[in-house]
Amino acid sequence: MTIPLSNKIVNIKPSGIRKFFDLVSEMQDVISLGVGEPDFDTPWHIRDEGIYALEKGRTFYTSNSGLKELKQEICNYLKNSQNISYDYNSEIMVTVGGSEAIDIALRAMVNTGDEVLIPQPSYVSYYPCAILAGATPVIIDLKAENNFKLTAQEILEKITNKTKFLILPFPNNPTGSIMEKEDLEDIAKVIIEKDLYVISDEIYSELTYGKKHVSIASIKGMKERTVLINGFSKAYAMTGWRLGYACAPEPILKQMLKIHQYAIMCAPTTSQYAAIEALRHGENDVETMKTEYNHRRRFLMNAFKEMKLDCFEPFGAFYVFPCIKEFGLTSEEFATRFLKEEKVATVPGTAFGDSGEGFLRISYAYSLETLKEAMIRLNKFITKLRNEK
């Protein structure tokens, strides 16, 4: 008897992070710097609104595309923060986290054999989702010397007559890199010229430091070619609520909505009510958390400087991505030894693509005290490695 399994799925590698997770789980007293979610609790007034929705018995499905009020708030938010005008009724849908939006955007647009450009290092789901959608993923290896920004030249080098989309993952997990307006204008030029479309994952858009996030959809001629994906997880510390959204031209959104309608029905109702509160009254919370993240970011950059560990200064998300090439170990060897010898968990850069080799993702979604202790251990560890050489 053979168990019926899809070859497509069987051939997909499980996430490299999983392996590390299992290793860490077996150990005790580990300081983890490996988490990709905020350490803050969801602000109380937002939680309270969720509780209130439950008390009021708002426990039914919402319309497939989400609550009207929420879509209107999303619409206002994008107008105010990015000056992009979407029609809440036909161009916005609420999804189960940004993750669902990535998946259905690909499934709604891809035909078998279409090539999707995926810059790496980047979040782990683009590649498998592209495969599942029947696309051929084409990797663009981002370079440390460009501070892991994507350049127009890199796109041009990979374009073929089958290329249909670009996934644009900025502010970036795991590098913390951001794309500024001029960078995006260069990209937009190529996209328009080559008649491509963009799936822009902007889940970290609220977490940029000293420089404001710019959406590629705000650049002239790009709204028509962009699926903008965002959500509530990172900005409002709402990861467990599983709520995101996608904005796209109506013909695309219509198809995405069909998948969502049949596969998901609607995003969690409680979460949608809480998210309305987040968008209406959450601005100060975001500001407070951002200030705190920025302190930690500066603390880590300073600690690296003091221990002479090479790291470009990232201005987004809550990750730093130091280079560990000087030690002559692979990312995985380094992270494993660091975990075993100093009990600090980080994520090897290779979990986010081959071009992450030689780098380490360190999350600063941790209290300063935790980061301080971790940096003492890192210093000890790399001093040991340097002496070994």
Binding site: S15, I17, F20, F21, V24, S25, V30, S32, G34, V35, G36, E37, D39, Y123, V124, S125, N173, T291, H295, R296, R298, F299, N302, A345, V347, A351, L368
Partner: protein, 160 residues
Amino acid sequence: MRKEILMTIEKNSKISPKELAILLGKEEIEVANEIKKMEEEGIICGYHTLIDWEKTSIETVTALIEVRVTPQRGQGFDSIAERIYNYPEVHSVYLISGGFDLLVTLEGKSLKEVSAFVSDKLSTLDTVLSTATHFILKKYKAQGTVLAKKPKDKREVITP
């Protein structure tokens, strides 16, 4: 910069100017000067420690006292407030809108000590019309800090 310094040291007054400068991305000397200026200007009025006395063996009692007073001509509430805040056992004095005038918080060693203060000193002041004393039974949160056990990190140890 002032706002960010204040917001940070309000939560952690132990932080050194050097550390603070790193967090704020400024020079140490700049931060130190700014703090000094704010001390001189009376913006920073002191550096205190938040103590949960309940966890010690030292007995303390905290009381909130609502005080109704007759304002005095030409001075309003200021002189009566001064007469009250000069007592060392008085922790804070606020002028309040609403049903009474001054909110006085008091830290004493025992119930007896607090009641003695109220009956002997506070109530006997000419301008004091009436008082109402509330004893604090339990402090859940003080100065923005929850006094319960530190919560554990509930997140998975590694996530993408």
